[in-house]
């Protein structure tokens, strides 16, 4: 299905559907996430049975602070869409979808590692890219970047966000 037709089709079944740059985005609450993904997978004309990717973005000071984006692909119909879940900053939890899509396992671990979002029901929610004893979740926007001390007359290389920025 072309993006516009797909957006119309999904608007028939869901409320928050956006169409921008030929990409369809569906916004759902975390309570409806699993049901939504099952519905999108099981409708024969949609059949979004392949999870391409899963990641998060952080918007401090906004509500919801975190957005988790699921990139879905239909092998049968060669179309794609995105499902996004908003999460509050003080309770960043959402259900794991590893039982639905085994590929989500490492993606969810990565989001936990880099953003500190908790996926309830994940079989093995450990850090994946960073060392096990790392403190913090570096892809959050409020994470301190830290600079680098040098031996040259005590010079300190400031973190990248404190240098001249475009």
């Amino acid at each position: 299905m072309k993006a516009a037709a797909l957006a119309d089709r999904i608007r028939g079944a869901f409320d928050d559907v956006l169409l921008a740059r030929d990409e369809v985005t569906l916004l759902v609450g975390r309570e409806e996430l699993v049901d939504t993904l099952v519905r999108l997978r099981d409708q024969p004309d949609l059949s979004f049975g392949f999870l391409s990717s899963l990641t998060a973005t952080d918007h401090p000071g906004k509500d919801p602070r975190f957005w988790v984006a699921y990139e879905l692909r239909s092998i049968e119909h060669a179309h794609r869409m995105r499902v996004k879940v908003g999460l509050p900053g003080d309770d960043p939890r959402l259900p794991s979808i590893t039982a639905l899509f085994p590929t989500a396992n490492w993606h969810e671990r990565e989001v936990w590692d880099l953003f500190g979002l908790v996926f309830d029901g994940h079989p093995d929610l450990d850090r994946i890219l960073l060392p096990d004893d790392w403190d913090g979740h570096p892809l959050r926007k409020d994470e301190e970047l830290g600079g680098v001390g040098t031996q040259y007359h005590g010079a300190f290389i400031p973190p990248v966000d404190e240098r001249t920025m475009p």
Binding site: T55, P102, T103, L129
Partner: protein, 439 residues
């Protein structure tokens, strides 16, 4: 500890050991004797056959792998975070370093994302150049795969041949972009420069040489008893399992699924090229070998067609001065650098050109708010870029969906129950690149 992961290792292994000790006695089903306890070993992160710094935690019963856990992260360099503090164009120089065996694919997927956010399209000639370089890159990447994969299974001569031919391609890359790897050649809005005067001749020469070399590999390996023994029936991953784990690329095509984004969701004009998608149904290591060899031949076909189209001259960067990269570059004896004539123009002739140059280079382009997910078919499968812009001069978020990262998740399924020696063949047939996995 500076290298990380270490505190967790001891704990993890001790836990696994305790768990084993608490299990009831296992009796061998043939002899009836009480079986010895299993052994847990680390393969990697420093191991000649793990393609870089992949670590496998293997639980062995004799020579049989009964549990396997891949552990990654040793090459994490924070590429995604870095791009959030650099201009849109500088981002190219970061992402090209992620999967270092397929730099052009990273550049292309990133630039296609930025172009979609900007609502522009690169000029036709630059798209042909992109396709041409990507397909040469695909061959180079598959050559590294056949070389290292061969070496790991004891076929050392293949290693020499693979790297020898890859060198021919890297020479072309060096002549065209100034660099053998990490080219930063594809930029939002096109490519930085046209082919050098002898570029087309060099590529044509390569097209003459290469088919016979691929014949050589096939003569060497196709019916080689050791190669067959090590690969046939090894590391089977069915199409259903592959899709559940998100596995794409040659692994999926070797399991009978003809999925190729160049055909399914064409980009950069791939729909206008004539090529086939090689598919096998055996789903084992050997089928993956055959698929990749056939893909090299298909890539040669595409390169040939692209080269023909290059006879048509044209711009290689968008004309819009608000978007296009202003700098003219040329390849000198010490690599790529500013073009002398261009330098003279901005330094001696035109103050406006200097101001424009300064603004575009230090600040760059403001990209309208939005988000896109763009995919290309890399040598390892679906390479996706989820790029978010907050109407700034730099990205708000760049997520790299690297195919190696996702494909590695299928390793336990392919390895468990087999011999430890087969684990080597399986990893080789997967062709993971840790630079892309860990980003």
């Amino acid at each position: 500890m500076a290298l990380g992961h270490d505190p967790g290792v001891g704990e993890e292994m001790a836990q696994a050991r305790d768990e084993l000790r608490s299990r009831p006695e296992i009796r061998d089903h043939v002899t009836g004797e009480v079986r010895q306890e299993t052994m847990i070993i680390n393969m990697g992160p420093q191991h000649p056959s793990t393609h870089g710094v992949l670590r496998l935690l293997l639980e062995l019963d004799g020579e049989t792998v009964i549990r396997c856990k891949p552990i990654v992260g040793y090459l994490h360099t924070g590429i995604e975070k870095n791009t959030e503090y650099r201009t849109w164009v500088q981002g190219v120089a970061y992402v090209t370093r992620a999967d270092y065996l397929s730099p052009f694919f990273n550049e292309l997927a990133y630039c296609l994302s930025v172009e979609r956010l900007l609502g522009i399209e690169a000029p036709p000639r630059s798209q042909v150049l992109r396709v041409l370089l990507c397909e040469l890159n695909r061959i180079a990447s598959h050559l590294v795969w056949v070389a290292t994969g061969g070496m790991e299974l004891g076929a050392v001569s293949v290693m020499l041949y693979g790297f020898r031919e890859r060198e021919l391609i890297l020479d072309i890359f060096e002549a065209v972009t100034g660099l053998r790897m990490n080219h930063s050649f594809i930029r939002p809005g096109g490519v930085i420069m046209d082919l050098p005067p002898d570029g087309a001749r060099r590529i044509a020469k390569f097209l003459d040489t290469m088919p016979a070399r691929i014949d050589d590999y096939e003569r060497l390996l196709n019916d080689n008893p050791i190669w067959l023994e090590r690969n046939v029936g090894v590391g089977i991953l069915s199409a259903e399992d592959a899709l559940a784990f998100g596995v794409t690329g040659p692994l999926l095509r070797a399991a009978g699924m003809p999925l190729d984004l160049r055909k399914d969701e064409p980009y950069s004009g791939y729909e206008t090229y004539d090529f086939d998608v090689p598919v096998r149904t055996e789903a084992d290591s050997y089928a993956r070998y055959l698929v990749r060899i056939a893909e090299m031949r298909e890539s040669l076909r595409i390169v040939e067609q692209a080269l023909e189209r290059l006879q048509e001259p044209g711009p290689v960067m968008v004309e819009d001065p608000k978007v296009g990269w202003p700098v003219k570059l040329s390849v000198g004896p010490d690599g790529i650098g500013n073009d002398e004539a261009y330098l003279h123009h901005i330094m001696e002739e035109s103050m406006e050109a200097l101001i424009h140059h300064f603004k575009m280079v230090t600040q760059g382009v403001r990209v309208p708010e939005g988000e896109v997910y763009t995919t290309v078919e890399s040598p390892r499968g679906e390479l996706g870029y989820y790029v978010v812009s907050a109407n700034e001069y730099r990205p708000y978020r760049v997520k790299i969906r690297d195919p190696s990262f996702v494909n590695l998740q299928a390793v336990p399924t392919m390895v468990e129950g087999g011999l430890i020696a087969d684990a080597i063949a399986v990893i080789a047939s997967l062709d993971p690149v840790m630079g892309g996995v860990d980003r």
